[in-house]
Symmetry: C2
Subunit: 481 residues, 2 copies
């Protein structure tokens, strides 16, 4: 069933009781301190956007608050719950689904909750407040011989709280799982403003329902996560990458399937299609045959010997039908290569000035169809298209290249992303692998989940947030919205 | 806060509308077929017990039904929901927390939902109905070069649906995670009798709240899982085990911590204390120094080379302070050793005819305290005690040896298990790592979760099951119960 036409309006959900910004700011300054409340200025304006800003998505809010700790978050929520003002929670603001674009009321930034509370290297544990950046978590883990596997990108800006909110993934999710797998417990403020703990430091715990996992990926709709208890893994001794190119999608996707069929536990298994390569191959730090049609990137980690074995397996699985294979083992080479890979998104956007991109996911054996389907949808709307992403998880970043100054082109791209979601569902997949639903994908949630489950999750939201004041209308479409 | 005195009564929760068994059976025979409905006989009697039967826990029910498929499960639930009769769902009946001990109404057995619907070796996927035994899942995975890591024991009787209901673990949870980590999607019948799907075949999916994880471990209180979509892992090429013995708990627990501190990714890291060894060492398939005080078992899996490296790491970490270390690499030796390990529980029970055992969990650095604390609690109640279990996860099977014919001894053992739960919480752990709450641990749930979270999960239960008819009073203590 086709949902309502794709809409970028942020006015779907009105504040229940519109308040005067000045009065609201005064009240919140009494709860916090005047220096923690903003109604204008650069910081306030920045809080109306997230990673979708370059596509023109702008929110609105009365007040931005910056609590210092979990107790202050609880105090803000108590006030908001009593006054019936919605709260839109904000992490690093790098999200790509409009999840941190506010629609009125209070924007609550977790930027000041930026303390690493503890690190226990011997027990592979870390506890960090929600506003600690992903890069800091990675760095402190590494300094202690450990690794936090999720690597969703934008690590210097994105926060561990944001990673939890969207259940972020990244390339290493293939072997190590998405963020939820690395989280054992959460400190959360739930309505009407109470600080609770779900899960804990232990890795096995069935004393209650798994509210920790329910909270992870809930995009701020059930409570405000103020701190995260992480289970890290030992940092691998070595890494290596095999990069194979192919003349076309079909032979490349056959390579992806061959790695899985060989039973190789790749750390990452990525792909780029012809369009993504055309945009980025110029800065690739080594030569590949001209005009590559598809690239597969397979990463191994572990002991030096384990990496050697796995890379040999990659060469055997990826070699047949390839135009080239190259294996990188030195730290210097692999770092340079991953830096290039991280720049692919920017290189694609630079082609025409911008891109509209969605992170659909399909069963891995349908990857070739999804790659072709992305091109076909672009063609139908008169748009250049390409895709790349996490092949082993069937997670594509399907993108349409646009001139951001051309409203007609942008409108067509938005229509095209709607077709992407339809395609992902038709192929047995999902509308989002790791970016979340935010505000952009809510029209597709009923189709993605089915009406029974969609209505069940509204009831679950009500169990947490009976007044529907936490990120209302984000992630979970609300009746009558 | 100390909960109400520990109670084994199954009469805490009355059926809402007691019905006549004959009339209920007639109605259900019309929904199903006469051969699928039982009100007496061996099969009916067996359905009043689970793995707690030897401790004397017996339930009561009006009717046992055996639906053939998910549609019939939905039909039974529709009838029960309309007639307001509770449903107690039953898997293999091996649970150790009284979770499958009914308290009136309908017992719904999933035994006939025993089809493996699909196996996709190339994509590491399997879909199995809830009544498929864990052993069958293991066997079919292995026949296809894959592995289903959870190995909670009793595999020939326990079912994949039961593993999902309790989020079962076992030794391999240390490396591969508990059951939830291997489940990507579920087919579930939710009240008032609708068949829905949560999650799917893809491994990354944030289209909705993570209802899949919420359902896993919910012990039949939110819906009835009828089929499970699994993500398997490639079967490792090789395995090996290092077994170290120590003169006392402290030096053994130091060995456990040394393995973790060395950053070794053990597949399993198990322990047995002196009492557990005394009961079982006679049948150990190799010699160890006389009167061992503690044993640590560290397992490696992977390629042959990886296993060799990991075992060398075990020997280095476990050697200091040990009385003996022995490393087993041949299939014959490791199989014989794990068979012995699986028999430990029986050997302990055989000491005095029975045991009362609970699976508390503590942070791994508190393991030695929990082992000592178990002995101290036993001593206080005049009971022999011992413990063994999953050291790397801090998950102990703390046990009190009893003569099952002695009501006084049994009563003291039940008091003692209450002290175990208090101790686990005081050490920062949980009342159950993998067995679940069932009926036995409900008095401790408020203390384990805190009153806010305990009341939140009642609201979540109501969101799924507004009439509170699914396993009422199990897992989630209900107000007024």
């Amino acid at each position: 069933m086709r949902p309502e036409p794709y809409s970028w309006s942020v006015d779907q959900h009105e504040m229940r009781r519109p308040a005067d910004a000045g009065e609201l700011a005064d009240r919140l300054a009494a709860v916090l301190a005047p220096g923690q409340v903003f109604t204008e200025g650069e910081k306030f304006e920045a809080a109306l956007h997230d990673g979708t800003a370059f596509q023109g998505l702008t929110g609105r809010a009365l007040v931005l608050v910056e609590p210092d700790d979990a107790a202050e978050v609880a105090a803000v929520m108590r006030y908001a719950y009593e006054a019936e003002v919605p709260i839109f929670t904000r992490g690093g603001g790098t999200g790509l689904a409009g999840g941190a674009v506010p629609e009125g009321g209070i924007v609550l930034s977790l930027a000041r909750l930026n303390r690493v509370r503890s690190i226990d290297p011997g027990q592979w544990r870390m506890e960090a407040e929600a506003g600690v950046t992903t890069a800091t978590v990675h760095r402190i883990a590494l300094e202690n011989g450990l690794m936090f596997p999720p690597d969703p990108g934008a690590g210097e800006q994105s926060t561990i709280g944001g990673n939890v909110a969207t259940n972020a993934g990244g390339p290493h999710a293939l072997r190590y799982g998405v963020t939820n797998h690395s989280v054992t417990g959460l400190e959360v403020v739930i309505p009407p403003g109470r600080l609770v703990h779900v899960g804990g430091t232990v890795t096995k715990n069935v004393a209650g329902l798994d509210l920790k996992s329910l909270m992870v990926g809930s995009e701020g709709t059930l409570g405000i996560v103020t701190a995260v208890q992480l289970r890290l893994v030992p940092a691998p001794e070595a890494r290596g990458v095999t990069v194979a190119t192919y003349s076309d999608n079909a032979s490349g996707c056959t390579g992806v399937e061959a790695v899985l069929a060989a039973g190789i536990r790749a750390t990452a298994l990525e792909f780029l299609d012809r369009g993504a390569l055309t945009a980025s191959v110029g800065s690739l730090p080594f030569d590949v045959p001209a005009d590559p049609g598809f690239m597969v990137i397979a990463e191994a980690d572990g002991s030096a010997e384990e990496v050697r074995e796995t890379l040999a397996g990659f060469e055997e699985a990826l070699g047949p039908g390839s135009a080239s294979t190259r294996t990188l083992v030195s730290r210097h080479e692999t770092d340079a290569f991953w830096s290039w890979r991280e720049g692919v998104s920017w290189a694609v956007a630079a082609q025409r000035g911008g891109k509209v991109s969605e992170d659909i996911v399909v069963p891995v054996e349908r990857l070739a169809e999804a790659v072709e389907g992305t091109l076909e949808i672009g063609h139908r709307h008169g748009l250049e298209a390409c895709s790349w992403g996490h092949a082993g998880d069937g997670n594509l970043h399907s993108s349409f290249l646009v001139d951001l100054e051309d409203p007609d082109e942008l409108a067509r791209a938005r229509e095209a992303t709607g077709n992407l979601f339809d395609m992902a569902l038709a192929l047995g997949g999902s509308i989002s692998g790791e970016h979340g639903v935010g505000t952009i994908k809510t029209p597709w949630v009923d189709a993605a989940l089915g009406p029974e489950v969609a209505s069940l999750q509204v009831r679950i939201k009500q169990a947490f947030d009976p007044k529907l004041l936490l990120n209302p209308g984000h992630k979970i479409p609300l009746p009558g919205a």
